[in-house]
């Protein structure tokens, strides 16, 4: 187990800078998830940590060692890849034991270690099978087993679940979480699925275009997003964004209504954000925040998504499943004042 620190990490591929100074401290035993859209540099960061990509500038520390110039094998890390990278020509036992090939320990100890790991992953009966005789989830478990067997200081996962179907993905997610609770090793996990990030992470690192946007606990990033990007990226369906101008009476939104709030800002352009789940139908006689007509209704069982046209803007509200408004019906929506987020439209930064 070890801490991990990234200091001003920069990566350049053929003169194109793809990471622009990443700073992050990961605590011992922490489960940190990198999340962000495709191409934002998550894998590159992870691969630099693993020693598979050279560091252009900046420092990587694992434990109290600067590892910039160490070979992957000298960093005492283990990595699980998106497409498992388990060897089709070897049995499960050989695959799991592969990481121990170069370890100096008696053969009997190695076998014992493989059996232990297989037991943790409940694969003991599968040890003599070939990968071709395993299901996708089992293959992924073999890959995790191969990473565990060496008892590394840090586990690195690069989108390990993205090749699995939805159900299996949920199940493996749970297993990885349990595994972390059990072995307590520091884990750095990359995904572009925000649900995976929210459910697994102690802390989430949200990246975009080679910059870290926000680092925080799942609750932090959900409740107090640092900027427009984070606000829209985290949470499904996405936060509703309405642009407007700061006036004497409050924020006059382009959608055609005004919110009586005056966040401090240097510019007049303000965007407000409201999560779909915070919007509820107003009671009879209660003053509504906004009004519009229903354009689409998506019943999901326990809840219903209703799309509402407010002027030229469309917003989404999540309402209890028993509410099924007719298309074109007028709805009046309210939201608690403290659940309205304010952002500077130009810079995207959150405002107090």
């Amino acid at each position: 187990m070890a801490t991990v620190a990234l200091k001003d990490l920069v990566k350049t591929f053929d003169k194109t800078e793809v990471l622009h100074g990443i700073n992050l401290e990961v605590e011992d035993g922490e489960f940190v998830v990198f999340v962000g859209p495709s191409g934002c540099g998550k894998s590159t960061t992870l691969r630099m940590l693993a020693g598979l990509e050279e560091v252009t500038s900046g420092e990587i520390h694992i434990g109290d060692m600067m590892v910039n110039h160490l070979e992957p094998k000298e960093r005492n890390i283990a990595m699980v890849f998106q497409n498992y990278a388990i060897y089709p020509h070897m049995s499960v036992r050989k695959n799991i034991g592969f990481g121990l090939r170069t370890a100096k320990m008696p053969k009997a100890d190695k076998e014992k270690r493989i059996d232990e790991v297989a037991a943790i992953l409940s694969m003991s009966e599968l040890l003599d099978r070939r990968p071709s005789q395993l299901s996708g989830g089992q293959r992924q478990r073999v890959a995790i087993g191969r990473a565990m067997v060496r008892d590394p200081q840090v586990f690195l996962f690069d989108e390990p679940l993205s090749n699995l179907d939805a159900q299996l993905r949920t199940q493996m997610r749970l297993e990885i979480k349990k595994l972390h609770q059990r072995v307590g090793t520091t884990i750095i996990f990359v995904t572009h699925d925000q649900v995976e990030a929210m459910t697994l992470a102690d802390r989430i690192v949200i990246m975009k275009d080679g910059y870290i946007q926000q680092v925080g606990t799942p609750t932090d990033v959900y409740q107090t997003p640092a900027n427009l990007f984070v606000a829209q990226f985290i949470g499904a369906p996405s936060m509703n964004m309405l642009e407007g101008k700061l006036t004497d009476r409050g924020i006059a939104l382009d959608a055609g209504f005004t919110i009586p709030a005056k966040p401090k800002n240097t510019s007049q352009d303000i965007t407000i954000g409201i999560r779909p789940s915070e919007l509820t139908p107003a009671k009879e006689g209660e003053p509504a925040l906004m009004e519009g007509s229903v354009s689409v209704v998506e019943p999901l069982g326990s809840e219903t998504l209703i799309y509402v046209d407010i002027g030229a803007t469309e917003i989404v509200a999540t309402v209890p499943g028993r509410i099924l408004p007719e298309l074109g019906a007028k709805v009046r929506l309210i939201a608690p004042e403290e659940e309205i987020h304010f952002f500077d439209t130009k810079t995207g930064d959150a405002l107090k």
């Binding site: 693993a50 020693g51 598979l52 992957p72 094998k73 890390i77 283990a78 990595m79 890849f81 998106q82 497409n83 498992y84 990278a85 388990i86 060897y87 089709p88 020509h89 592969f98 990481g99 090939r101 170069t102 370890a103 990968p131 071709s132 996708g136 293959r139 191969r146 060496r150 090749n163």
Partner: protein, 292 residues
């Protein structure tokens, strides 16, 4: 990420076969006829080779396929003649050593060209490829001068050295290594293997179909090679089988029945090589189906 779809089970294959038999149409008849004719053209020389090897000398210009008086006399003669064994062994040593060497070095170079990025990689690759454009006939003279100056005439090494590595094999292996995902190699790198170990125990097993195909090509090429072994040797002790067999023709008169007998015997190792490696090719294809 197709894990299973490439592997139709034996049962479905059978069904497909049955289905294809039950739909006989004119297109199919034409296709089968052409294939049959092609097959006849391919098989005839082999049939004549076998038939001639079973004939007495006076009968060899008679074009009948079934000999009037079939005899094993020629086989007995060839097999009792010590030279045949000598040449057979020479060919076997040379073809085997060249195959092992070429498969090893071609795949090593192909791997390096495919999986490592270094300055001048493209240049090296193109330089290797461009040697494919030079026909053997043109290379024979420089090779000969080289062999003579180094004192390699009349030696195994002299026969083998031009084929110890091949441009074609390098190209083939480079292309096949492209199908090996980098993740496999990186996983091994993290697990602490050095580059040579990664090549040998991770990358090579993943390209066995290509290795088998290459081994077959190279073995057959060297087994049947004629021009270069003829030029670089003049002592019967170092003749390979194809070179040696022609000497049956110059002694008194052309002894076709003996040449054909030798040729028939010479096909045995090629058949064995093919049968042995073909199994690996099929297994390799099945294995490729589960690549993640």
């Amino acid at each position: 990420m197709s894990m299973t779809e490439i592997k139709p089970s034996a049962a479905t294959l059978d069904k497909q076969l049955i289905a294809s038999y039950s739909h006989i149409n004119p297109g199919k008849i034409i296709r089968w006829t052409l294939l049959f004719m092609g097959g006849v053209v391919m098989v005839m020389p082999i049939v004549y080779m076998l038939s001639t090897s079973l004939k007495w000398p006076h009968e060899i210009y008679n074009l009948s396929i079934i000999p009037d008086e079939p005899t094993l006399e020629n086989y007995i003669f060839v097999l009792e003649d010590g030279r045949f064994y000598k040449w057979f062994i020479n060919s076997l040593i040379i073809a085997t050593a060249t195959t092992v060497s070429a498969v090893l070095f071609d795949s090593m170079v192909g791997y390096a060209l495919c999986k490592f990025s270094f300055r001048g990689r493209m240049f090296v690759f193109i330089a290797i490829l461009s040697t494919l454009m030079i026909p053997t006939e043109m290379l024979v003279i420089p090779w000969y001068i080289m062999a003579r100056d180094f004192g390699w005439l009349n030696s195994y090494w002299g026969i083998m050295f031009p084929g110890m590595m091949t441009a074609f094999g390098t190209f083939l292996m480079k292309q096949f290594f492209e199908t090996v995902p980098d993740d496999f190699l990186e996983a091994a790198r993290i697990d602490g293997l050095n580059e040579l170990q990664i090549w040998w125990s991770v990358a090579m097993p993943l390209v066995t179909p290509a290795l088998s195909a290459l081994a077959i090509f190279i073995f057959l090429g060297n087994w049947t090679a004629f021009i270069w072994p003829l030029i670089v040797t003049n002592s019967p002790d170092f003749y390979t089988l194809p070179v040696g067999l022609t000497t049956f023709s110059v002694e008194q008169s052309v002894q076709w029945e003996l040449i054909m007998t030798g040729a028939a015997l010479a096909t045995i190792p090629t058949l064995i090589v093919f049968l042995v490696f073909q199994r690996y090719i099929i297994r390799g294809v099945v294995m490729a189906g589960l690549k993640g």
